[in-house]
């Protein structure tokens, strides 16, 4: 964990409700699957947002506007300085996959998979990505994953783009390990559908984000774990589903 002051260098919409924010400064050594906790002026608790990319001095976050904090984020101008905790959580286990990792993301679960895909490709793996959205207008980052060299499949619940249905309707056959992030119903469906091992990232309301308050606990096969510190990524076999 690292407490740092970062400067907003980009803050623009990707879709009608999803924004990308780039922050510059001493961002620390972030691993894929880790998250940041952003302090926002006037709000007490920080907001946890996954690391979408971390390169050099630039941290990329992608966030969906859902409430007061994320609405406020959209109004932060370029040049604004933010107090951010970075390098939070365990992150994905890059060594767990053999050769053919499958990345499955739904909605704003997609962003952390981008950084993961990048690192897996750097390791020479053949990466497949399945991205699930509700409808065509909500799609983002399809091209970015393709540019990395991933095999990308998009699903939309209403069929307005890509395969009609859910991510579980479009899982490739040949993957040896999955990495997932998305809404709970998606994670549960994937858990049931996938017969390969894998790991998934969870969300919980957080008090601190670094393991101090026990606000974010989740019961697993090996006892109570903190989503913020022991997670947010948990292996499939740890889940009590």
């Amino acid at each position: 964990m690292k407490q740092t002051i970062l400067t907003v260098t980009e803050n623009a919409p990707l879709t009608s409700s999803v924004y990308r924010m780039r922050l510059r400064g001493d961002i620390g050594a972030n691993r894929p699957g880790q998250f940041a906790e952003v302090s926002l002026p006037g709000l007490f608790l920080r907001r946890p947002i996954s690391v979408c990319c971390a390169e050099g001095d630039t941290l990329t976050l992608i966030y969906k506007v859902v409430g007061r904090g994320t609405e406020l984020m959209t109004r932060l101008p370029i040049g604004e300085k933010l107090d951010v905790l970075t390098c939070l959580g365990n992150g994905y286990d890059l060594e767990a996959s053999a050769e053919k990792p499958l990345l499955v993301g739904g909605g704003v679960g997609v962003p952390p998979l981008y950084y993961l895909a990048k690192e897996l490709i750097n390791k020479g793996k053949s990466v497949s990505v399945v991205l699930g959205f509700n409808t065509r207008d909500e799609i983002f980052y399809e091209n970015e994953f393709a540019s990395l060299g991933c095999r990308v499949t998009v699903t939309t619940a209403d069929g307005s783009c890509g395969i009609k249905g859910f991510v579980t309707d479009a899982l490739p056959e040949d993957a040896d390990y999955f990495y997932a992030c998305g809404p709970l119903p998606m994670l549960k469906a994937l858990y049931r559908a996938a017969d390969i091992p894998g790991e998934m990232s969870f969300e919980e309301r957080m008090g601190c984000g670094f393991g101090a308050c026990m606000g974010c606990s989740m019961m697993t096969r090996s006892g109570a774990k903190r989503v913020c510190k022991d997670g947010p990524v948990f292996k499939k076999e740890a889940l009590l589903w």
């Binding site: 964990m1 407490q3 302090s39 709000l43 007490f44 608790l45 920080r46 107090d83 905790l85 919980e204 309301r205 957080m206 008090g207 601190c208 670094f210 393991g211 101090a212 308050c213 026990m214 606000g215 974010c216 606990s217 989740m218 019961m219 109570a224 510190k229």
Partner: protein, 303 residues
Amino acid sequence: MVNTKVDLLGITLDNPVIPASGTFGFGYEFAELYDINCLGTFSFKGTTRESRFGNPTPRIAECTAGMINAVGLQNPGVDAVINEELPKLKKVFHKPVMANVSGFSVEDYAYTCALLDREEQVGWLEVNVSCPNVHGGGMSFGTEPDAAAEVTRAVKAVTTKPVIIKLSPNVKDIAAIAKACERAGADGISLINTLLGMRIDLKTGRPVIANTMGGFSGPAIFPVALRMVYQVSKAVGIPVVGMGGVSCAEDVIEMMMAGASAVEVGAANLVDPYASKKIVEALPAAMEKYGINDLNDIIGKAH
């Protein structure tokens, strides 16, 4: 050079700043960030006889200038605290620690305190009487003078170290409860625990917290905490540890003027992991600004 040293029941603290129970774990997460020996001491996570998962999630809700938690005393149980947490703590923290204890019956409290009392690193027992009294119909021990006094007597009977009773603010007359604890043998009083609060998610119309309500703390509660510290420290003759919404060195000074001998810092640690360290560091300059040479001179100055 100003003096920040204060005495807390026979042990000298380098400064009166004490991270509050439940917001500092067993010290580790913070020892990774800075040398926690700069603190006066800290109060570790509320420990119970048996291990507890606590309440279902969501357990956290945001409020204006504060937060609600309904963690529900998640902890590994007193045996694991003694056998696993304290040995690890010893490596990173070289001062006496405050052992925070909770229970659901008088026997629970006595049992857990008796065990922790024997641990060398434990300097004080901080007995949180805000838990529901399972045998007494679910009302918290801390909301009835008699029940609070009963817990105090039971703990005092089985311990040798200073016993500080931590009071709930969700009462009409907190001074009466403090006095009952004092008469029952308490060595000190700490207050306040969280105020009972609630938030509703406008999108669903349901409470944000799975358990409906939870404990509200943070800067928003400071004026209530300060008032209660003032009332209790005027009412009793034993030392008072003040807390509730403290987030800067000025707040520490104000709490001490209200009557606190030492001051705990809770929710502030969660939103800024360095909060307690920053308060310790800012204290001398704040004292100078207000012409305070020795913190001992201002304890209860407002009385």
